[in-house]
């Protein structure tokens, strides 16, 4: 097996733009997923049963169907519900919705990890529910859920490969395309792996940095 670097260098522009599309859809999907997930979690933790029950069904539905099928449903099935989206918005929406239910579960656990007594103290001081979530629960739960959160974010990074199916010109689509044109499968697939490796590695490094920062108050040592 001979690795021909020319395959890569010849298509550097295409690979670069694929990389950027992957980065863009991934980060947009993550932002959308975290925002939706937080809403779902808050509604689940603080809402009544009328809010909780449909959300429970929604979560189960998303969790028990493949991402690929959901994506098809948004992209090809969407127009039937009056939702005609271009590939990239459809991909981001699909990724966001898929991620949101997992993020919601992570956040829900996070909310439950903050001792009730702390909320009672806030209650007695007249601190509102929203202030309580934002100032007391979120900062503390972040410490606890950060590893799970980072893990889910990296999972979504790898799920972006599925977006190639709905013709989004992201890394997988670009490189497999080059592969079938030039029959240089080894080079292109290897590059593909390296591309994802870079993204995931960057993400987990960032996560580790955050972890070491946000957990400081737990330490008994004065700074």
């Amino acid at each position: 097996m001979i690795f021909d670097p020319k395959i890569v260098t010849d298509h550097l522009g295409d690979i670069g733009s694929g990389f950027l599309v992957t980065l863009g859809t991934w980060s947009s999907g993550v932002v959308l997923g975290i925002a939706l997930g937080m809403l779902i979690a808050v509604a689940q933790v603080f809402g009544n049963n009328f809010v909780r029950a449909p959300l429970r069904v929604f979560i189960e539905l998303i969790r028990s169907t493949p991402f690929l099928v959901q994506l098809f449903l948004v992209y090809y099935g969407g127009p039937a519900f009056g939702l005609s989206l271009d590939p990239i918005p459809a991909g981001i929406l699909g990724l966001g919705v898929y991620g949101s239910v997992y993020f919601a579960e992570i956040f829900r656990l996070g909310f439950e990890s903050v001792a009730r007594g702390q909320l009672e103290a806030a209650d007695c001081l007249g601190i509102s529910r929203l202030q309580c979530i934002w100032r007391i629960q979120v900062p503390q739960m972040l410490v606890i859920i950060l590893p799970a959160l980072i893990n889910m974010i990296t999972v979504l990074c790898k799920e972006t490969a599925v977006l190639s199916i709905i013709t989004i010109p992201e890394l997988t689509m670009v490189l497999t395309g080059i592969g079938s044109e030039t029959f240089a499968f080894v080079e292109t697939l290897l590059m593909l792996c390296i591309g994802y490796l870079i993204l995931v590695e960057l993400c987990s490094r960032l996560g580790m940095l955050l972890e070491s920062r946000v957990g400081r108050f737990m330490s008994r040592q004065p700074r």
């Binding site: 001792a115 007594g117 702390q118 009672e120 103290a121 806030a122 209650d123 007695c124 001081l125 007249g126 601190i127 509102s128 529910r129 202030q131 100032r135 007391i136 900062p139 503390q140 410490v143 108050f217 737990m218 330490s219 008994r220 040592q221 004065p222």
Partner: protein, 301 residues
Amino acid sequence: MNSLLIPSGAVSASTREKQGESMKISATAPGEQPTILTLSKVGKSFGPLRVLKGIDLEVQRSEVVCLIGPSGSGKSTLLRSMAFLEEYDEGEIRIEGQLLGWQNTDKGRRRAPQSQINQVRRNIGMVFQQFNLWPHMTAIGNVCEALRRVRRLSADEANKRGMAMLEKVGLAHKANAYPAQLSGGQQQRVAIARALAMEPHIMLFDEPTSALDPELVGEVLQVMKTLAKEGMTMVVVTHEMGFAAQVADSVIFLDQGEVVARGTPQQIFHNAEQPRLQQFLQNYLDRNAFWQDSKPPTPNL
């Protein structure tokens, strides 16, 4: 049973002064001194278990009321009801005349909107057994949080008042420490400062020293004594009989959700008539009677 808990006449000078004061107050017509907290026929059930069975209680301004009783007697539930941390389901609790937690409508009683609950509750300061400090904020951060978010003070103002409160509990030098870096006693004092910062008219203490190492109990009680001396209205659930004997204007003994005895510390600790109270006090004494065989020390309660 007589005089075992407090030697007669061992009431400290300051307390006597305080009691004299409160006697003076109670000598005036009841309308003149506003009753700050009124409970009438307060009941509460957890499922089939009725933990509070129609409690009546009045707390006057500057009065210190101690609730004592065996575990499971409902004293914590009663105190938590006063802050509406428990939804009492019978009777009424009024704070400075305002009904707490409920709203009377045509269709009966409904939970009041949160804003209204907070409005009534803003005159209450609550101190918990487990301190319940927010671990991600420093001592000063804990004290200032409600000043900033609820009172909407500027950072400078909140900080100034927060520091004054920490000063009051003797912890100004720990302002930038996180709760994990403080001892239990210090954490509880920060929690007291946090409640005081909101200038409550009445302070509720739910077993404030029960989670502390024995040698840290004193510093917290000292802060509470100072507060009482300054005329703060306080309701204290406690197992510290010495504190109750020295500081309380009235002591209430609860058992199985009922007020079994109420009176001055003198009446409760010296002249207990009710068998359940006698037994409770005897148990307390037995537990604390490690000096039995030697010369009994002057009870430094």
